[in-house]
Symmetry: D2
Amino acid sequence: MTVSRVVELEGHIIDSGMMQAAFGIVMDLGGSFDVEEFRVGRSKTEGSYCRMTVTADDPEHLQSILHELHQNGANPADPKDATLQPAPRDQVVPEGFYSTTNHPTDIRVDGQWIEVERIEMDCAVVIERDGNGDPARAYTKVLNAIEEGDLVVTGEAGIRVRPPERPRGKEGAFGFMQGGVSAERPSESTIERIAEAIVETREEGGEVLAVPGPALVHSGAREDLARLVRDGYVTMLSAGNGFAVHDLERDLYGTSLGVDTESLDHARKGHKHHIYTISEIIRAGSIPEAVEDGTIESGVMYECVTNDVPWVLAGSIRDDGPLPDTITDAVEAQNAIREQAHEADLVLMLSTLLHSVAVGNCLPSTTRVVCVDINPATVTQLLDRGSAQAVGMVTDIGTFVPTLAEKISEKG
Amino acid sequence: MTVSRVVELEGHIIDSGMMQAAFGIVMDLGGSFDVEEFRVGRSKTEGSYCRMTVTADDPEHLQSILHELHQNGANPADPKDATLQPAPRDQVVPEGFYSTTNHPTDIRVDGQWIEVERIEMDCAVVIERDGNGDPARAYTKVLNAIEEGDLVVTGEAGIRVRPPERPRGKEGAFGFMQGGVSAERPSESTIERIAEAIVETREEGGEVLAVPGPALVHSGAREDLARLVRDGYVTMLSAGNGFAVHDLERDLYGTSLGVDTESLDHARKGHKHHIYTISEIIRAGSIPEAVEDGTIESGVMYECVTNDVPWVLAGSIRDDGPLPDTITDAVEAQNAIREQAHEADLVLMLSTLLHSVAVGNCLPSTTRVVCVDINPATVTQLLDRGSAQAVGMVTDIGTFVPTLAEKISEKG
Amino acid sequence: MTVSRVVELEGHIIDSGMMQAAFGIVMDLGGSFDVEEFRVGRSKTEGSYCRMTVTADDPEHLQSILHELHQNGANPADPKDATLQPAPRDQVVPEGFYSTTNHPTDIRVDGQWIEVERIEMDCAVVIERDGNGDPARAYTKVLNAIEEGDLVVTGEAGIRVRPPERPRGKEGAFGFMQGGVSAERPSESTIERIAEAIVETREEGGEVLAVPGPALVHSGAREDLARLVRDGYVTMLSAGNGFAVHDLERDLYGTSLGVDTESLDHARKGHKHHIYTISEIIRAGSIPEAVEDGTIESGVMYECVTNDVPWVLAGSIRDDGPLPDTITDAVEAQNAIREQAHEADLVLMLSTLLHSVAVGNCLPSTTRVVCVDINPATVTQLLDRGSAQAVGMVTDIGTFVPTLAEKISEKG
Amino acid sequence: MTVSRVVELEGHIIDSGMMQAAFGIVMDLGGSFDVEEFRVGRSKTEGSYCRMTVTADDPEHLQSILHELHQNGANPADPKDATLQPAPRDQVVPEGFYSTTNHPTDIRVDGQWIEVERIEMDCAVVIERDGNGDPARAYTKVLNAIEEGDLVVTGEAGIRVRPPERPRGKEGAFGFMQGGVSAERPSESTIERIAEAIVETREEGGEVLAVPGPALVHSGAREDLARLVRDGYVTMLSAGNGFAVHDLERDLYGTSLGVDTESLDHARKGHKHHIYTISEIIRAGSIPEAVEDGTIESGVMYECVTNDVPWVLAGSIRDDGPLPDTITDAVEAQNAIREQAHEADLVLMLSTLLHSVAVGNCLPSTTRVVCVDINPATVTQLLDRGSAQAVGMVTDIGTFVPTLAEKISEKG
């Protein structure tokens, strides 16, 4: 005896690969399906619709197929309310909790679809009802934020995932690079498009979050990033202790460090400057105090302080120091990064794997992402997270940032 | 008017490149030198000796040359006591503090040379005198451990650095791979030598520290590392939250995860298991409690717990969870890693850049290091720290660890 | 006024991504479409069918859409005979010639569909009719083989491309690694499957073509490949001059070279042996003569000669020598490689980009390919050619080949 | 009973690492040595001198040590004439032939030191005496150029190798990047120095040889390289069939290809253009004829033809076509490349491993080399050939060449 269920796919189900994925899932997992209805949107803007009956051997089998379909945007045609269960303990999820994707998601509560706030992948969804008849709210919580008694969505019922279509055609600054990463694209014109996207984002009042690694300073692009902060094209910064120390060290020990970054022979002396720099900031109290008392007079951190650009410096186990401004607790740092990620409209990941992954983990799939690294594996890893609006460039940060800054100032 | 100073180089100054480095430094920095005496050790074990007068334009110029010479093992011929200055504040070093290398180092205090304990690079040296006429002690302190009033070594006087010679000839398991990293070496015989070095280290009662990344679990080598722990060939473990979760998840959700690591299609479902795993450990209280209550029954962490192999799990901003056993504060985690690094006699860095750098930062240059990664840049970066006893292999952790475990069990 | 045409897709059009590709192409190129009929194969073996009307602005526009559709397996519903035009000159194709994919392809001649023989990408299709009423033949020709007067297929009419479905489910040794390359798969079990595929191929009387690079010799895996040749698991060899010289040199100067491959210090001395080796083979006349006169007594080339395994050594501009057996003309060498490629049932690409590309260029998409390299970019590039049966492994040839040989001898 | 011999080192023996290498060789190979005299050049321009007696167990042992010393620039203090033996056959070297390094080398013939012309590594040295009392000549011959009866230098006697010192200090455009390859250098200022070196080379009437790969065209830098040819900064070109076809295709099918290089979706259509392009050139007869008849109107090959910049196109087994201008025989192509390499004063290796290796094989160690590739392993491999004047950059050719062209036009 077999069991079956009707599921629907709606929207840009062909462009986004949803339909192919759905058919593949059913077959891979050993089920079968009948396409009941299939309408194709004629134009790029018109959505498509597919309704199909999925059949499996037994309820458990069906459930596992529906689970995978669901993660890929195929939702039951006869929606029920989501199942809610209280968290048994702090930091413990109820059995069968629903783990989010990074796509826009709705939860059916009391017969109403409500959108999940602050969507981000690998979270639980918590439902809040105030009891005053106001509509419920749904939002994500990471595991360590779960509190005993939180109403957590479990199972698959009453959940609707909407994977964004990949933009087609030439409209939009990011329409140009779907479908993979390549070192063999015309670099100058790709950077031109990224510059357009940044200018556009800022003109619309959006936030641009830069996530730079220390290599940015080594490679000589520090001044150019500082200029982007000063000119208002970068409005938030997320980095590590190492980036900040390198940036500050360049200000404090400019000349001699100039030599160091050009000649590996003297790298160790540069490292002493590293420790001195941290020591100087500790003496001043913090980076803003060091800016205020005139110790620090230029650079990315300087521009952040003087232009009120919010920044997060997250610590790691390989840090020297760290600076007094660095958040050393990983959970606390993640929370600070999460706030930035949810505010950002465009993210520039510049040659840092650790911090880019941390930011990327918190991003909805609808946020624009530009990822630049000399290592193709890093770019691939960062883009491989289902972002619908991602551009990867395998290139040298030391030529990328100056070229970007120049193209932005031409447009801005 | 010029100024000059006599410096000496002693030991394996030719093998280690010290002499060439010293001559180069003087010339690069615009000084000149007269070799007063030069004796070459005839055999591999006999040391050499070089005494030379270094001349510069003015005292400052001379000082900068002497500084670089010093970092490379050339010490003034007329030793004075080291200069000591109290730290002005917590976490602030006095001006001109001496920043350590990772080579064995002596400090001259009260006319006596004393060896710096727990040598590690980029630290300050603190001198402790008890005032009872007992000999003073010298040891390293990282910046954030400096306390107000600590007697910190400053300047260059009274400090003797002894860069280890590179082992020559064929004796010793590690004599075979000096001079670079290469993917084009005979892999099987290289692994054979590493196996010999591990067995030898254990026979002499030394400690073997493994530093594995999550890729070790993905690539199917988890059972082999678990066996090395169980059989006593790995005696300490330093890893991240991610490694432990992957290892535990494999135990808890074995079968289905088996599918996942073979097929990227289902990677996201695997991620849900990831969160479940953390949730289960939180429910149990900790990893040891999960082992005790029978939740966890196999794997690397299981073997560590049941065989009393000490482990450190360090947190990072990209972690899920984290596990209750993970140290989330970066400074605290570094301190735990530092303890392990100073006890280790041989370190196996297995496919993790972040944790390998953190451990490597704390190692003296005399500790044996084996670094294995599929990415040549990672191997190069990790070996590029002046270790005299380092072996790098650009290879696949999924074939390396099983082959290593097999070769060890043949020998052990 | 718009123009339209009915096209059909048939077979595993969902699994293979054909349908999604077809819809995408029409929309990307600014056309529109109506799905007239759409039937989905219920099971994995049952094919699907889609008939749709494609509409464009003008005939040229329609043609460009049909061209792209065609390359991706969507064929006009009302088939006409293919258009044939004589080649105007040797090595010159007629305007609008049809350039092949590497997928199985049929040509409609005189109302009959005939399969293109020796399909391979980027070729012209030549039709041969003997005039005796026998059915026509269709086969590929590379540009430089075109002769004046050859009847070359032009345009898109009367051509049917059949992209193979990607194998689904777990059946078949190669069902396990569709959808990408990864360094994070369980290496041992992947090699196990490859071993199974080789044994299976040989049991069915198929040909296994090995394409090794010189790194195979450096990394110590030469004996293992020699064994595979001797035991009949490798039945054809395609390599470069460099591979053969390294292999022969190992035989001639074994002991001293043993030292060389372990220590980069002596690499140059090894190079002198390289030249000597070539000189010795020239003195003997050729590799087979050197085997016969006892100069060469072991290794991969030795086993090829003594076991009548056909080999091709292709020259390149970076070669030393070359050996008298090396084909120095690129066109002649390509032709020899082409013969091998068309006979092969399974191809092992072992750490050589140049020769793997040369072989890969001539392979139909239905041939099984295993590609192993330490560099992920190489593996990606080699697999990125539409092969339906390709496995990529990012791993070390020095552990891969010994493990493979062992697993084969367990099974064989 | 031991045997010994006095050897001398002269010149920049400390800077170049010769002395350290010499001491290390003796010890590694189990010999011993006495330093008889040791004078250090005080300044950067003054050379040093070291005379030492090397002692070994028996004549054969001594010989092996002297051989290695010799390859590294330590020459016997009591020079004898070189031993000359006739080649026994075409393409066969006499036993014990001397295999060259790429360093400047002298041969002692009839009591006179004569410099080896056209020095290049892994060659034999042939001596020519005309018998009229004119001084003899010495020059290199590759193995396949050896003719029966050629007087070939054998053994080690009467040969003097002069490894160039590494430039120290800041003078010279290439003094800035000794000691390795790094992605973490200030890119803009590095490119600035390379631009200076090119301008300087041209001002002194030197030849600049560009060795570009097809990625240069994909990445959008074709116009910039064409400009460098037109403006006289690139005076020779060495490339493969693929580069030329891509360059010509861009000219012939500009617009549509513009789309192709930005969107991987249409890569296959681009490939058809590839074949068309070759077909068109074959129709015209050759590239120069295609330029003359107006078929080709822009690009790198166009500028080479119209500016009389000599070019070599070498074939390979992965080529399509090839073009009628491509030299398909590897030996013939090598000879053409060799001519270019010996004339070049500065070589730009731009994103092609195969052709860069082929050129690099023929270069003396004194020629300036700039090597640019996105893959660090490629850069390392190309620089790892003992060139004293090499700069490596791990960067994106698509930003490097435009930046270089701009900086050159600022200076030129």
